[in-house]
Symmetry: C2
Subunit: 404 residues, 2 copies
Amino acid sequence: MTPLSRRRALTLAGVGAAGLSLAADRGLIGKSDEIPFLGQYQAGIVTPAQDRLHFVALDVTTRDRDRLIKLLKDWTAAAARMTAGRDAGEIGAVAGIPEAPPDDTGEALGLPPAHLTITIGFGPALFDRFGLSAQRPAALEELPRFTGDTLDAALSGGDIAIQACADDPQVAVHAVRNLIRIGMGAVSVRWSQLGFGRTSSTSTGQATPRNLFGFKDGTRNLKAEETDALRDHLWVQPGDGPEWLTGGSYLVTRKIRMLIETWDRSSLTEQETIVGRYKGSGAPLGTSGEFDEVDFDSVGADGQPLLPATSHVRLAHPDTNSGARMLRRGYNFVDGSDGLGRLNAGLFFIAYQRDPRTAFIPVQRSLAARDEMNEYLRHVSSALFACPPGLSGPEDYWGRALFG
Amino acid sequence: MTPLSRRRALTLAGVGAAGLSLAADRGLIGKSDEIPFLGQYQAGIVTPAQDRLHFVALDVTTRDRDRLIKLLKDWTAAAARMTAGRDAGEIGAVAGIPEAPPDDTGEALGLPPAHLTITIGFGPALFDRFGLSAQRPAALEELPRFTGDTLDAALSGGDIAIQACADDPQVAVHAVRNLIRIGMGAVSVRWSQLGFGRTSSTSTGQATPRNLFGFKDGTRNLKAEETDALRDHLWVQPGDGPEWLTGGSYLVTRKIRMLIETWDRSSLTEQETIVGRYKGSGAPLGTSGEFDEVDFDSVGADGQPLLPATSHVRLAHPDTNSGARMLRRGYNFVDGSDGLGRLNAGLFFIAYQRDPRTAFIPVQRSLAARDEMNEYLRHVSSALFACPPGLSGPEDYWGRALFG
């Protein structure tokens, strides 16, 4: 049995007798759809948001620090391969042992990199073990309870987060599934989420997409091109906390169920008043262009403020939150139905930031208390992770500065 | 408020000041990615399988036959619009009533048709009501229980099925969500399934994709180009049953959980023996090409049969099933995790056929009894629907021959 590889499968498919091969379908993009895995920062944060997500939160079940370090090294190597469009390991007989299970599960054979990024983060509970307590950043505390939270503990938290984003969900699922496989016996899946429509742009080169309320979402998002703002609001700076996290970022996830059936029964005017933007253009009420500045003082023909104090755009705006900004890269989801005759749909909110204590937490406190949109939302999952900086080279591995 | 439309949004985006617009991102494909909604057969069956699925099974809650007929007409009109890349109805103020909810939910504004198809089917229980009992085809009976079935009744059955397939999941979800919205008060969501990687080709122009066992799936699927075989195995023929179903097809769905963690621990040789094909090429064991004929008599170097009596490819082959063939167009799924440390992943099996009594039922009986793959599978959902023929023109509507 000759071992197979994704690269070889692509080549074989390209010259195969079938004529219309996977290579012809998708592979022609070649390596131009590869996002570099190494770099100062982890990929998958300011990387232009891909269309699909597979996110997993893992519990570490091993109590052996060396086993965990070995896993982080193995994961790093596999992630480097997969983000380059390769398999996680050989598909065929491994190291001369014909009865060993394959080192890759195979469902991405023939598929290109599809802009795959794999991003890791560490949750607060991890730092209670493995001799890590002195390395725990002060900001890495479980998020507080917010007004209206209806969290499912089994869908919240986790020791380690892995975010896989790609333009092809099969590629993202393959990546997460193989990292779980490699972690068998050391980690266990706590919760997992698929997302299908990015709800934010992370680059000025991307159009603003729409969430399941039908509105453009993330117009004022932090963007990759805003270097100064990224320093101030996204990347952990020297002196912010323990050295291992410098160049990293804090990741907040919130699974937010949207009561879309109720929303769909409200009028366009009501929807626009709640959001504070026009549904069509995405322009703030009282303006004409999506990227126009929000005008807090605008009044309608009746002399009343166009943007009520409870409108989402007002409450979430940096000007009403001491300048707080985050980089959002959430996804829409539909997880089947809820058993009550409705779709189980909503937004899997993802936000990266330099410090949640001055970004997500105060903004969400304000939204939770006053946002009229809350009538249509249920927060069911919540988590916070500290994501280390990028990898400096092939010898580096996820968490080296933390465990080294 | 000027009403918006997807077409207008595309136009506006194309000339907008933002420069990098949705139109620039995706709209340039224009109308070339539109699948005709009208035709002799329903679209979404032999249509080259799109990459993404949103499937919903609905319970009819109204007892009013006229209300149901009105809904089928409204659905048909909305489906015609959406498959053409339009909104389900006006987004803005409807018919001069400014406080009416929008007739479209908006999340597909600016997105192209993305090869959207919407396909409808009627379940057995529908025919107990609405004066339809005489129209019920003999073949439209709930599927029998198969050995090993572990079905969840809440995820099975349904009065009406709607299958939306597209290359963009946001487009498929938008279609299903708007049809549900239009049906509010008359139908209720029974269960719903998203799928992300087609697991079959339905046209010779498509490469064979891979399922979550990492194997090519559907190599010997019925294909759109096999006109004679489609007549014999796919489309209900005159005289097969009630006239309203002539030109239609029976749809079987099975949600099949795959125990991928267990599978991933088995050796490549074991996986290939169970499937009866090589993982890399997809060729039947003992042959060299994916499309080579299965050789039931091939033996290995040890003189033993290469294809055991329990191999999947042998048990599912038409030659061991009195020539039975189906058109499969299933999808991979990952529905989060199972609470036991594993991904909830598998195959949402979809198969169309002329008569389930001579196709799915006997084949599945054989597989359920003997397929060694069963060790890694759990059937959790099951349903059968009768899908009417295509629509003859703008005046036709889903179910007209049935209700008319």
